[in-house]
Amino acid sequence: MAGPIYLDYNATTPVDPRVLEAMLPYYREHFGNAASRQHAFGWKAQEAVDRARSQIAALIGADSKEIVFTSGATESDNLAVKGVARAMCAQGDHIITVTTEHKAVLDSCRELELEGFSVTYLSVDGAGFVEPEAVRWAMTPRTILISVMAANNETGVLQPIAHIGRIAREAGVLFHTDAVQAAGKVPFNVAQAQVDLASITAHKMYGPKGIGALYIRRRTPRIPLAPLVHGGGQEQGVRSGTLNVPGIVGFGRAAEIAAAELSTEGARLSHLRDRLWDRLSSTLSDVSLNGSARSRLPHTLNVSFGGVEGQALMLGLEGLAVSSGAACTSAAAEPSHVLKALGVPDDLARVAAIQPRSIHHR
């Protein structure tokens, strides 16, 4: 085998050659601005954007009009969390999320706390799951948003988002999910999960970096969303800025391929993933699986090795591109917030789940 072995697809994926192929003409001859209404260059770009929008919508069971392009899922998460909170501050000031969320959600919540919002950070059990009923218990009349990810990037654990979606819909509270790691990998349908907002990004599904989307459910009245970026009024005024047409085209093609290959690829990868785990667990003593083995992404495996030091292990594994979520020894850096959260005993987690971490009422 030539070169290092890449086993870090949750960090990013290479651009599929079919995706790159689709993108190239939009850098060369079809370079127009999708907002140029007066000439063929603009029309050509707009056409391509429309096609991509429906390819992406189809992947998650949405309508094209419900897709807003962003610079990636970090922006989508920021837009969903801060955008809803700031637009709804007259109706309430409380947000519910989970300790194992991506930093894009957690840090957006932290920012909102500085602005006077209060945030409940629900704990997870030892397998990485949040208890849907804990979401219900945490709700107050002031709750305006619930944000729970579909699949965790570190452990691959799939949260019970359909259950949480039902609870949120019943209570009339908006529900956002970070579906970055789930979309294109496992069936993810916005209607089935009853989500109002969902963040996705191209570079986790063999598309280019720097292009993402936020699904915003169409309903009457419209979901209140304060834009983060102001300017030309593109994307229904929700996200200004000249559209990244080649990126969008690549995202669309990537979504189309992912949808077509989802089930065969999922089966192939879960087989390989299990083979890796079987080799490790049958040959080595003191290895343990982090997160649920039952409900997780087919291609993700998070393992702890006892009796080895993180840094030494990473050094020894030169030639293997993997991510060390947690290197926890007395000397090493902080373990990952996700794995730390999984270590919380059930009873403690339950208690923490019903106590808002901080309350700054305005």
Binding site: Y9, E265, L272, L280, F305, G307, G310, G316, L317, G325
Partner: protein
Amino acid sequence: MISRASLRFSLGRFTTAEEIDAAAAKLVAVVTHLRQNAPAFEFD
């Protein structure tokens, strides 16, 4: 000193069975080697 290291393996479209076998062999060799060189730790 008890130490523990955690790794995330995430596979994808271009991952092959050969790569998985090579990765498993490498991991087993490295972990075994590191444990042998950490005499304070008990393992079987």
